[in-house]
């Protein structure tokens, strides 16, 4: 969908494009997979319905190769997250590591270690106090439906539905929003079992329901809403400390608020919206985000977005409101990851892959097969988190060259270079080191920062006309 404002050009964009054009001229002709910029109309494009720079191109297939025939629906209890970790190392060992994590936190509290002081641990604990509402599959179901108001349900085209949903969800706090239709392939990205052991099943029923044993998605609920919530990069660059971890918790809290409000908004339109019954439930978040073009899968086996790099968390819901699906993107991110390896080098647990090429072979049952990726060793990762960091770590997010803010014009040109001149990837990685991007910052200085709301820049994806 094209809006009029998308075709005009701000002074800021003009300067950026002017620089970009000069860079392009200097660098020679564009490579074959690039889009030559012939006019200002293509300076920005809508991919996944989000305002994007021209070099983020929509593609028919995601940059992660997928073998749908070799993919099964994944049991969320098999992940190495939360209680699932004990499945791989045994309950006794999991308890021992949790105890170590608690001791490490206590020792660092006693010793006033920066990033683990009382104020750090207090704010981290506070971020888990969700006051917005309770999480559920079916939603609160408190707002009046159109039937209760005595009017028909909202009707509109799929494009209009996508537009109003995106507008509402961005207003609720989502950074980017995308949609994908559930078909026989993408249904495989919905968990077979939720982390709490309830089976997720599709049935030919009118309304979703939940029993003690299962959560039922009606066949007609065919659209997945995928959204990202920004994390504060300035906080996460203090990883691995609790002052870094708290931004993750904040993102989960905000995501829950967005979920509840979106569920109620869609109910108010006369449709159903099914949410995550617990954190990271319902489906495979990065996979859905790749399918709707919110980003690409990267070396740390998580999502990297063109706008915020890895500084996001991904969430999803399912609705029977027909929305216009989006397509995957290619912004050169996966290709860059082949050469970069900065996250793998920085990973203190050596849990990330150094392979030059992604692989079909999974590292363990915590990975889902059927796609070609850089699979991580989640056991090494989670063990380090408990034994050493006593937090959820996040170093791989913090050091990523895509984890940039957007105030320096050159950042945009570098991303353009990554997308259009892959032979520069090695140089770009070296420059990233030279400029010391990704270096761990002083946790104690976080308290002196004057950060914006939630510690994030909320204008990165807006049209600044």
């Amino acid at each position: 969908m094209e809006d009029k404002g998308n075709k005009s050009l701000s002074r800021r964009d003009f300067l950026r494009i002017a620089g970009l054009s000069a860079s392009s001229i200097a660098a020679g002709k564009l490579s074959s997979n690039s889009s030559p910029m012939t006019s200002v109309e293509v300076a920005k494009s809508h991919t996944a319905g989000n305002l994007r720079p021209w070099w983020v191109q929509t593609v028919d297939e995601p940059t992660t190769e997928i073998n749908w025939d070799g993919m099964q629906r994944y049991d969320a209890r098999m992940t190495a997250r939360g209680q699932g970790f004990a499945n791989y190392i045994g309950q006794a060992e999991a308890d021992r590591l949790t105890e170590i994590a608690n001791q490490v936190k206590k020792q660092r509290l006693d010793n006033n270690v920066p990033g683990y002081t009382l104020k750090d641990q207090a704010i981290n604990a506070a971020q888990s106090a969700y006051t917005f509402g309770s999480r559920s599959f079916l939603g609160p179901q408190n707002v009046e439906t159109p039937m209760e108001r005595g009017v028909p349900s909202w009707t509109g085209t799929a494009e209009e539905a996508a537009q109003i949903l995106r507008a509402a969800m961005r207003h609720f706090g989502a950074a980017t929003v995308g949609f994908v239709e559930l078909n026989k392939n993408t249904r495989k990205l919905i968990y077979s079992y939720d982390p709490d052991g309830k089976e997720i099943v599709f049935e030919n029923v009118d309304e979703a329901y939940e029993t003690d044993g299962k959560r039922v998605i009606p066949d007609k609920a065919k659209w997945v809403i995928v959204y990202t919530v920004q994390m504060s990069s300035e906080s996460l660059k203090r990883a691995p400390t609790v002052i870094a971890e708290q931004t993750t918790r904040l993102a989960y809290g905000r995501a829950l608020d967005i979920q509840i409000k979106t569920q109620e908004f869609i109910r108010g339109l006369g449709y159903q919206c099914l949410g995550e019954a617990s954190s990271n439930s319902l489906g495979i978040s990065p996979a859905f985000a790749v399918m709707v073009g919110l980003g690409e899968l990267a070396r740390h086996n998580r999502l990297i977005t063109p706008e915020f790099g890895p500084m996001v968390r991904v969430f999803k819901m399912i609705t029977d409101l027909r929305v216009q699906p989006d397509k995957p993107i290619d912004a050169g991110i996966m290709k860059f990851c082949k050469h970069c390896k900065k996250c793998a080098e920085a990973c203190p647990a050596s849990a990330l892959s150094f392979d030059d090429e992604p692989s079909w072979d999974i590292q363990g049952d915590w990975n889902n097969s059927g796609h070609k990726a850089y699979f991580e060793d989640s056991i090494k990762c989670k063990t380090f988190q408990r034994e050493n960091a006593a937090t959820n770590c996040g170093i791989c997010f913090a050091v990523c060259p895509f984890a940039k803010k957007n105030k320096v014009w050159i950042h945009d040109w570098v991303k353009t270079g990554i997308a259009t001149f892959p032979f520069l990837d090695g140089v770009i990685r070296s420059m990233d080191d030279a400029f010391s991007y990704g270096a761990q910052k002083d946790p104690e200085k976080w308290w002196q920062l004057d950060l914006p709301e939630y510690g994030i820049d909320t204008e990165q994806t807006t049209n600044d006309e």
């Binding site: 620089g19 320096v408 014009w409 270096a439």
Partner: protein, 78 residues
């Protein structure tokens, strides 16, 4: 005053026109200076002190280089 004396009193200025690419090079220099300056200022806003220092250094080195070249070329003309 005869014609010979008149010629002796006249001064001749040779106006050397710079090559066309000189202006292109100055434009590139100015463009890079703007970029480095923007990056230096914005890096501070991004709370990236080392990047800011590197960009300020680049800006300073290019500024000194440009001024030096300009002075040398100017003196050659005088």
């Amino acid at each position: 005053m005869n014609n010979h004396d008149q010629q002796d009193n006249e001064e001749y200025y040779k106006i050397a026109r710079g090559p066309w690419y000189q202006w292109v090079l100055w434009a590139v220099w100015l463009f890079l200076e703007i970029i480095f300056l923007q990056a230096a200022v914005a890096s501070s806003k991004e709370l990236e002190p080392r990047a800011a220092i590197v960009f300020w250094l680049l800006f300073g080195v290019f500024a000194l280089g440009g001024i030096t070249v300009w002075i040398i070329r100017r003196e050659r003309l005088i």
